[in-house]
Symmetry: C2
Amino acid sequence: MTNDHHTSKQYDADLETVRSRVLQMGGLVEQQMLRAIDALVTCNRSLIEQIIADDRRVNALEVEMDEMCSHIIARRQPAAGDLRLIMAVVKTVTDLERIGDEAEKIARMAKLISDGDRLQMPRFTEIRRMGDLALDMVRASLDAFARLDTSTATQVARDDIRLDDEFRGILRQLITFMMEDPRTISLSLEIIFVAKALERIGDHAKNIGEYVIYLVKGKDVRHVSLDALERDASE
Amino acid sequence: MTNDHHTSKQYDADLETVRSRVLQMGGLVEQQMLRAIDALVTCNRSLIEQIIADDRRVNALEVEMDEMCSHIIARRQPAAGDLRLIMAVVKTVTDLERIGDEAEKIARMAKLISDGDRLQMPRFTEIRRMGDLALDMVRASLDAFARLDTSTATQVARDDIRLDDEFRGILRQLITFMMEDPRTISLSLEIIFVAKALERIGDHAKNIGEYVIYLVKGKDVRHVSLDALERDASE
């Protein structure tokens, strides 16, 4: 074993495997989200079962990736950029797994909404828009990871502010809706939980974007203002 | 530098620092939770500001701990139990930071509840009970980490099922409450979000318990059934 990784093809191959596995896991999570949002409208039962089944694959990938990263640390003593990659991946897989969980929750909620209710589902256009934005954010964060692109990562942080605004808007509208017709309270609450799940997915995408900035720039931009994040990402 | 850490006092000291920092961060998060639950009843503004200020310390600790772990990986090439400690810590600090975030959210919601509303706050006893259970779970998970105690860690996973049940119970009661008196919808929603925050805190405590089992037993018990977790933890 050598610590000079540049001479080790196997080491380079291991790092490449880690990178491509993250993107594979990300692709699976994206698909879960897409299906979950569709399931809300179509109430396609087999789609819902598929999302739940995929969640097991996502969970297994999380465990596998952490094992892979541990193995590389133990065998290779990664340093500098390689170590940042490993640290970023260990954090990223947790966020990806949680995005998968939220997609699964949305799917389970879709299952609870009866066909009758579905026809009169309040604020559906807005939920769809929130879902599209959250999905775009997840895609952009994975794209930023794939291309080591800090400006896309920064865009995800900016979009998270928009997503939070959308969430608050939907919440306000649904409160009014429930007050006007208390029979819609249960259904409206389901929609609020769906919106909340999408809002959290945005947080996870933002986290992934932050890890990309750390990976590329070596700066930890968690818990800093958007201005500071933009500065660190572009320096 | 040597890879034989048993001869390196500095390395042992570094690992000890990591362990004690996790517990320090955990103590801070526990205090945030305790104060957040109190703030719900007392609406003590200075308490709320304190929780928000503490959140910045928790955030700083998260960043610091990850740096410390990266440093140890780069310098020491940890293996076996030492590596599991580092991996467990890298995951644990994320969960602790999120617990702090949820406590901060509860504090901010406490701020929104007016004094008049506070007097007639629905399901307060139940929320208090949920808060106490969630706090016990966080304490137990940190205790399990401190004493490498897998049976306490297993108990946290068991308690999480109880906490989820409590959440569903409160949700059902609040739905009825809102339907009976739609004027309480806004307030009830705040309480639902508080309950949701507590439910998530329980998830994070459970995660920490799972990392303890991984640390002690070398088995990754995420995403397994409670039965399998109990078996792995006691083997």
